[in-house]
């Protein structure tokens, strides 16, 4: 989609003047970021540029030194417990290694947020867990297993099922394809794409996977020099002259990914019907 078209759209996350600092080390300074409804935004950046810190700030897990973070128009820092609970029902998070509760089975993990926020009948919760398991491509038998019994890729899928349990509007993914083999990573990309289409999700993902960036991201934000250095479509990134950005998107790995990538998706990709 073009930049101008994006401007007119509904902003679900708005970050303004964000500053994060640990001791003397400034991670973010005057960082601005917008996330539009229905898009898939990829956040990239070198190690230590604060990609995860940005994600955690938006989620309210870290309190920034200064700046304002609005999600659905509400200032995260000013939300009371009630407001935060309501907010938590509207987003889902997949942490890097799934972060499943190790003392619960996968099905119980998926039901954990339902149990916490709603009073559903047990059969209905079982049905929902079953659906979500199937949607993320896991076998039904995985539901009774404990996270320690699953492989890394399965743990990610199970984590995604839990993130989707509350039918969130925004999905945050922290390095979703890291540690997966190329086939599993491609399948995961496909899965995110499908789910985005089916649930009209907004997806914010931190990733280093150039294939993912090509395959599913509508827009990319590059973190460098303590702020969002450039943001825009893949084409814009490829035309960027900043040395790091250029190196990132034109390195040997980038070239291989670009050759394999499908032609860029149109603006209507949010409405893609599953299969």
């Amino acid at each position: 989609m073009s930049e101008t078209a994006a401007r007119g759209r509904d902003v679900v996350i708005r970050v303004r003047g964000l500053r994060n600092q640990f001791g003397r080390e400034v991670v973010h300074d005057n960082l601005d970021l917008d996330v539009y409804r229905g898009e898939v935004l990829g956040i990239v950046g070198g190690s230590g540029t604060g990609k995860s810190v940005l994600l955690r700030s938006i989620l309210g897990l870290i309190r920034p030194v200064s700046g304002r973070i609005e999600v659905f128009g509400q200032d995260i820092a000013r939300l009371d417990t009630e407001g935060m609970r309501a907010m938590e029902c509207r987003w889902g998070v997949l942490f890097q290694d799934g972060a499943l509760f190790s003392s619960l089975t996968v099905a119980q993990n998926i039901q954990a947020p339902l149990r916490e926020h709603l009073r559903l009948a047990q059969p209905l919760m079982d049905d929902i867990a079953r659906l979500k398991l199937s949607m993320v491509g896991l076998d039904q038998s995985a539901g009774d297993k404990y996270p320690a019994q699953l492989s890394g890729g399965m743990r990610k899928r199970a984590g995604l099922a839990r993130a989707l349990a509350m039918d969130p509007e925004i999905l945050f993914l922290d390095e979703p394809t890291a540690g997966l083999d190329p086939i599993a990573a491609a399948a995961f990309d496909e899965l995110i794409k499908q789910l985005r289409g089916a649930f009209s999700l907004t997806v914010v993902m931190v990733t280093h996977d150039l294939d993912s960036l090509h395959a599913i991201c509508d827009r990319i934000a590059v973190l460098a020099e303590r702020r969002v250095l450039v943001e825009g479509t893949m084409e814009r990134m490829l035309g960027e002259t900043h040395p790091w950005v250029h190196h990132y998107f034109h390195g040997p790995r980038a070239r291989a990914a670009r050759e394999l990538a499908p032609p860029p998706a149109g603006a209507g990709s949010a409405q893609v019907a599953p299969n």
Binding site: C89, S102, S103, L114, L118, R119, L120, A121, L124, D126, D127, I128, R130, L131, K132, S134, M135, D139, Q140, S141, G143, D144, Y146, P147, A148, Q149, L164, M166, D167, G197, A198, F199, S200, Q271, A273, P274
Partner: protein, 374 residues
């Protein structure tokens, strides 16, 4: 618009279900209950109308899908109307993912199940004992190797752990022993006063503190403090594959982790027991002075007459208890697998087993020393 399920009857008598408002997960509980009530009322044909929907998510789509599926299974004719494209996609998605639940593994119940459970428990217990004995053998072998080649011994680690399990434990061991000395003197005095034999409180204190309580209390505190720490440290390392990493780097975990910890306990336990003895006697002495008017001079004089073996028996037991606590703590740590919960379980077990074994061995020592008359 109010989220609801509106049920109407056509003039022809057919049931009409109208979904209205937001059918999402937040309203799922209410809608679920309403739908459950509909089933009984369904006739031969039902018309499901989704045109009033403002919002539908997976949970809502599931409820629609489930209702239609269940009614159809009962032979009810379903007519679905007013479905928008987006909702149709969602309904199709849900239908595709409606898979049979995994079959529940057949479990034996009743007497057979009980027998199987007892058998499995017994086998597991025996296996654990076997594993522990093998582990002890491994530690002894490594220890012998370290004695033969002292350069293998990790001195820095040993000294660090001696400080952590020994020196850092001084305040708590001292305080507990002091208080037990006080309690012994106080309780003993009130009993002995009845016989006019208050002076024997010194014998009571010296015998019980030196022979049993000093070392036993030390062992219990150390098991709670250090045995659990060993299990938790090594267990967390196991979880994060640090133990495997050590093996691949050619570092023997027994030599690097178990030996320094266990040796540190063996070396410091006698010192801690000695300190505990001293503090116990101090507490008893002060209490005797305050409540029984036994002056420090008299106390020390009578103490000097104490049979030296009372003291030695206590100190001899200390390194043995240290070995038990160290080995069990490290063993349980290495047994951790899988989850964070396993770390907790193993840590608890390390403390319970260590204290249990310490007391069993203490009883065996009592019999032994009784037989050899010391």
């Amino acid at each position: 618009m109010q989220t609801a399920l509106v049920t109407e009857r056509d003039p022809g008598g057919a049931l009409r279900l109208k979904a209205v408002g937001r059918w999402d997960i937040a309203n799922a509980a209410k809608i679920d209950a309403e739908l459950m009530a509909v089933h009984a009322a369904a006739g031969a044909a039902v018309r499901v109308d989704l045109s009033g929907l403002e919002w539908l998510d997976v949970a809502g789509a599931w409820l629609v899908h489930r209702t239609i599926k269940n009614l159809e299974a009962e032979g009810v004719l379903i007519e679905l109307v007013g479905v928008s494209d987006a909702h149709a996609g969602l309904l199709r998605q849900v239908a595709e993912n409606d898979k049979e639940p995994a079959p529940v593994a057949a479990s034996d119940s009743g007497i057979a199940g009980f027998v199987i459970a007892v058998g499995a428990w017994t086998v597991r217990g025996l296996q654990q004992i076997g594993d522990f004995v093998a582990f002890e053998g491994l530690v002894v072998r490594t220890l012998v190797g370290a004695v033969l080649r002292p350069r293998q011994l990790r001195v820095t680690s040993l000294v660090y752990h001696m400080r952590a399990v020994g020196f850092d434990a001084l305040p708590i061991v001292g305080l507990i022993s002091f208080l037990i000395g006080v309690v012994l003197a106080y309780q003993g005095a009130s009993q002995l006063r009845a016989f006019g034999a208050t002076i024997f409180v010194v014998n009571l204190i010296s015998l019980s503190v030196l022979r049993e309580l000093g070392v036993l209390l030390t062992a219990i505190v150390v098991a709670g403090r250090s045995g659990s720490a060993f299990a938790a440290q090594i267990g967390s390392m196991k979880l994060r594959e640090e133990i495997d990493a050590m093996r691949t780097l050619g570092i023997d975990p027994i030599e690097a982790l178990v030996l320094p910890r266990t040796l540190a306990l063996i070396l410091t336990m006698p010192l801690l027991a000695f300190f505990s003895d001293a503090m116990g006697l101090l507490g008893g002495g002060i209490m005797s002075w305050l409540t029984l008017d036994i002056t420090p001079q008299i106390f020390i004089q009578r103490l000097a007459n104490t049979y030296i073996w009372h003291f030695l028996v206590g100190i001899i037991k200390a390194p043995v208890f240290g070995t038990i606590i160290g080995l069990i703590g490290c063993f349980e740590g290495l047994q951790v697998d899988g989850s964070a919960e396993s770390v907790g379980q193993r840590t608890t077990r390390s403390v319970v087993e260590a204290i249990f074994l310490v007391i069993v061995v203490d009883a065996m020592f009592s019999i032994f020393f009784n037989v050899v008359h010391v």
